[in-house]
Amino acid sequence: MTASALTRPGERDRLSVKVREIDWTLVVLLSVVAGVGVAMLYSIAGGEWQPWAADQLVRYSAVLVMALVLALVHPKWWFRAAYPMYGVLLVLVLMIEFTPLGYVAGGARNWLNLGFIRIQPAEFMKLGLVLALARWYHNHTAQEARLSWKLLIPAAMIGLPFLLVAKQPDLGSAMIIGLTGAAVMFVAGLSWKIIVPTGVLAAVGTPLFVIFGMHEYQRNRVLTFLDPTKDPSGTGYNIIQSKIALGSGGFLGRGYGLGSQSQLEFLPERQTDFIFSTVAEEFGFVGSFSLLICYAAIILIGLRIASLSHSHFGRIAASGMVAFFALFVLINGAMVMGLAPVVGVPMPLLSYGGSSMMTIMFGFGLVLSTRVHRYSELPKGHGLF
């Protein structure tokens, strides 16, 4: 029995109904993608569960359970937690910058060591930002969301973490934060009068930023993207090897565990940023295109869930989450296919890594919760702040 607008009151709050209302298609799709990821990690370790596959499997199982639990949490709790969460994460990002707890890995100071756990707050910041923005838009009118001075508040909410993360410098995360924020403002109804000039400004400003505002290694990444053959053993190596891996996979792939590019370590970062190339090498066009279809399905299902929500908070939060996920997919996909510069953006759910997977699955917990509670209205202005 499916719930509808006409379901009896109270019925929807029953646990069994809620569990039924979870979008299991989405859960299955997410698990399929994560499962492919685990399989690939097993393959590139030379048919070993260590060092990545087992880890990833356990993590996914754990965050999947958490996501399902979060799916049952009423949006009002999300709503209430939005601002505090955003605040705490902002403090954590600041702590990286201004306390000795932050430490450097891979050229960027983007890890925070809290003693008992090491986290990348920038990852969770994306989620926090989406929630905070959703709450802000929930409390404001269409007119305000379209074109008003009040829009400076969401702009600041995006700009602050963007600048802090960009300063780490973790360009990939900053870009995701900025673009996710922009996507949220867009779906919330931002006027074209702002979108068009900003777009033009970005088109002009980006090259200038590349030349004057970037760190050496970042500029190199961009420049080598434009001409990877210029430095085939240095920064262009990644792009060239990734394309070779993709191309040599051919239509049907080289077979599971038989990709020479990934097995013999020609492919750099094959367990994280370039794992999609491994899939493409071993399973060919058939496999990699199917995987892309899975991603597309997840995104479209997510957007549909957002559009079904009765509360503006749910709409904005769910669509922000999905936009965030879509950005990951598109940027990573373009990167491994040589269509974008190499920026440290993993393929969601497929790449090895805890922080990113946790963020993504918490986010989908939110999306599922939006779907389960799509008929719930949220009053304006409620919250802890």
């Binding site: 109804g189 394309k243 590019q261 013999l264 559009s307 936009a323 997919v329 269509l339």
Partner: protein, 673 residues
């Protein structure tokens, strides 16, 4: 959406409408993006798949060049002259070391001498292409090799392996004729480029050596062989993870080269030179095989294989006796009196009577006085050769002119290079009137009559090398054929024919026999070479001709000098056995001092003995005839001296040097006509 009740005038619904439109846009954009990625995937994985598959295979598989073993060089009896020996070495791969300095520090503790060469090693390692091993030390002892292997785990990027290094077991004996190999340099690479050929990758292999001189250089293409390839599967760090035996091919070893040389004779020849400089060539007069070709002093070609230390090379290059020069074919000298048979032959060919007697009064006059080293009195051609009389041959030469001599000299092998299979030959110079016209002394290009007497006795502009002398002696001794020298016996098992067609000499063998009679007397009692030319092999005797070539104008001073570079060159040519010649020897002792009989003859004798004793036929002959029926040379000499006394040749003519000016009795007679 459509199932929801819609209220269009309220703000929340305006928000919802706008959200739905925008979400549709986002969904569309996402779909577009994914479609774009799908198209790109199709382009890479379907359209360009083959191209990338090739690139992946290039990544995955590497051809590891396997250098071919260089062809052996052997002597006529199969003795290895140039071989390959296993050598342990240590190599460093820069891209596998985490920190080159640290690695070299550790390595320096195991192999202390690498510390001294550290700067050079760092330069070499940094100059090498990615993942190319650079040898830092060769010829490790077993202990050193074991030590490096023991610490291999702490020395990433360092490996010890075994390879084949060129080895010359006879050291310097064959250094000039066989040459040596050395590391290829930029000029070798350039040479390929200039010829428009592709530079073989073998050239960049750390263990490859290229032929630098002699046979090693001229037969480089045959000795080198074809490199093989090991198709190996490698990982991104260039480490071999598997071998693909099916697609590997073994190297083709270089061809084996057999020379006509005989290692025993060659070694003997170098040995007899001691610290003297010069050259010695031995030939088989029947077929032209060169049995020995030595230049002294020599050098150790093995040093070039791993690289000669600069100090050693400088010492070689600066030494006045020029160990690096091949004096056998590249050094030219005035032949001195060894040339006299040519003058004699030229006269005989023009119809001179060998029994004609010319009186030597101790000097010959043509504008000025040309001294003879003794007063020989009246003698025929045979005795003139025996006594090495200058006057006799000057007289003949003046009568026939220089062009007649030059023509015979060329026919006998002078003034030319031979197709030996090695380059670097200096043809020397056989002067004639035509040459003088082209190279005038005083502008008019005339051949001055005063040049002819010097020409007759092998002085003046005439220069020859030891190989030409040996060819000339072989032709004399053979008596019939214009023997051509042959150095390369076979390449890769295929016999090499002697260079050029062996024609008969254009002279009546009877005329050559007359000259041989003269040369037989040289080593007999009373001859200029008698004392130092006795083989002591019974009936097997050696004939020869001495020669002394002055290197400066003595003026009125003494010709004796204690300064090496001021001494006369000392030459000797010989053949044996007298009755049935088989071997010809030429010896040049550079600045050897007084008279060909003293420095040249004993060396020729020792070398000749080895050649004769190695010949089974000669051995049998010596064994069968025994020594009993041979005369005692001493008593022979005594008899001959008694007989020679009245003829006015009192002094034992072991020297052909003219007596010092003060001792020269004033002569009143004119030059005999």
């Amino acid at each position: 959406m459509s199932s929801e009740p819609s209220i269009f005038f309220s703000d929340p619904n305006e928000r919802q409408g706008s959200f739905l439109r925008r979400t549709l846009v986002v969904g569309g954009l996402t779909a577009l993006g994914v479609m774009g990625l799908g198209l790109r995937l199709g382009q890479l994985q379907v359209v360009q798949a083959r191209e990338f598959a090739t690139l992946a295979a290039e990544n995955q598989f590497n051809f590891r060049l396997v250098p071919p073993p260089r062809g052996l060089i052997k002597d006529r009896n199969g003795v290895v002259i140039a071989g390959n020996r296993p050598s342990f070495r240590v190599l460093v791969v820069r891209d596998e070391t985490k920190d080159l300095d640290g690695t070299l520090d550790l390595l320096g503790r195991l192999l202390p001498d690498t510390l001294e060469r550290r700067r050079g090693i760092i330069r070499d390692v940094n100059a090498a292409p990615r993942f190319t091993p650079v040898p830092v030390k060769s010829d490790l002892t077993w202990d050193e090799f074991a030590r490096v292997n023991l610490y291999a785990n702490e020395l990433p990027g360092v490996m010890a392996d075994m390879h084949e290094a060129r080895f010359y077991p006879h050291g310097g004996a064959f250094a000039h004729v066989v040459g040596y190999v050395a590391k290829p340099n930029a000029r070798d690479v350039e040479a390929y480029r200039e010829a428009g050929e592709e530079v073989p990758t073998l050239l960049f292999n750390p263990s490859f050596r290229i032929g630098r001189q002699g046979i090693e250089r001229s037969l480089e293409d045959r000795l080198r062989g074809e490199p093989g390839g090991n198709r190996v599967e490698v990982d991104a760090r260039g480490r071999v993870v598997g071998e693909d035996a099916e697609n590997s091919r073994p190297p083709v070893p270089g061809e084996e080269v057999v020379l006509t040389l005989d290692a025993d004779i060659q070694n003997k020849a170098l040995e007899v030179f001691g610290e003297e400089a010069g050259s010695c060539v031995v030939m088989d007069v029947r077929n032209g095989d060169v049995l020995c070709m030595v230049s002294a002093p020599s050098f150790d070609p093995n040093l070039f294989v791993s690289g000669v230390p600069t100090s050693v090379y400088r010492a070689w290059a600066d030494y006045e006796r020029r160990p690096l020069t091949d004096k056998a074919i590249n050094g030219v000298f005035a032949p001195g009196s060894t040339f006299k048979p040519v003058t004699g032959l030229a006269a005989l060919v023009r119809g001179a009577n060998p029994d004609r007697r010319i009186t030597c009064t101790g000097g010959f006059y043509l504008g000025r006085r040309f001294a003879c080293h003794a007063t020989h009195g009246s003698q025929d051609m045979r005795d003139a050769i025996k006594n090495s009389c200058n006057v006799y041959f000057m007289q003949l030469a003046v009568e026939m002119g220089p062009d007649a001599i030059a023509e015979v000299a060329r026919t006998m092998g002078f003034g030319q290079t031979f197709d030996l299979g090695i380059g670097n030959q200096n043809p020397g110079l056989v002067p004639d009137t035509g040459w003088r016209r082209r190279n005038p002394v005083r502008g008019d290009g005339k051949w001055y009559p005063g040049e002819t007497p010097s020409y007759a006795i092998g002085q003046g502009a005439l220069t020859v090398n030891a190989l030409q002398l040996a060819v000339y002696t072989s032709r004399l001794a053979n008596g019939r054929k214009a023997i051509q020298p042959r150095l390369i016996k076979s390449i890769g098992g295929r016999e090499q024919p002697p260079a050029g067609d062996v024609r008969d000499l254009p002279y009546d063998p009877a005329l050559l026999a007359i000259l041989r009679e003269g040369m037989n007397r040289v080593t007999d009692v009373g001859g200029t070479g008698f004392r130092n030319s006795q083989l002591g092999l019974g009936a097997v005797r050696m004939a020869g001709k001495t020669g002394t070539a002055q290197v400066r104008n003595y003026g009125t001073g003494s010709r004796k000098s204690n300064v090496w570079s001021q001494k006369d060159h000392n030459l000797f040519i010989a053949y044996a056995p007298i009755d049935e010649p088989r071997y010809a020897v030429s010896v040049i002792v550079q600045h050897g001092g007084m008279g060909g009989g003293t420095a040249g003859a004993p060396r020729a004798r020792e070398v000749m003995k080895v050649a004769l004793l190695k010949d089974p036929d000669i051995r049998r002959r010596i064994e069968q005839s025994g020594f009993a029926d041979t005369e005692d040379p001493g008593s022979h000499e005594a008899n001959a001296l008694g007989a020679a006394g009245p003829q006015g040749a009192p002094a034992p003519a072991t020297e052909e040097a003219p007596p010092a000016a003060g001792a020269q009795p004033a002569s009143t007679s004119e030059a005999p006509q």
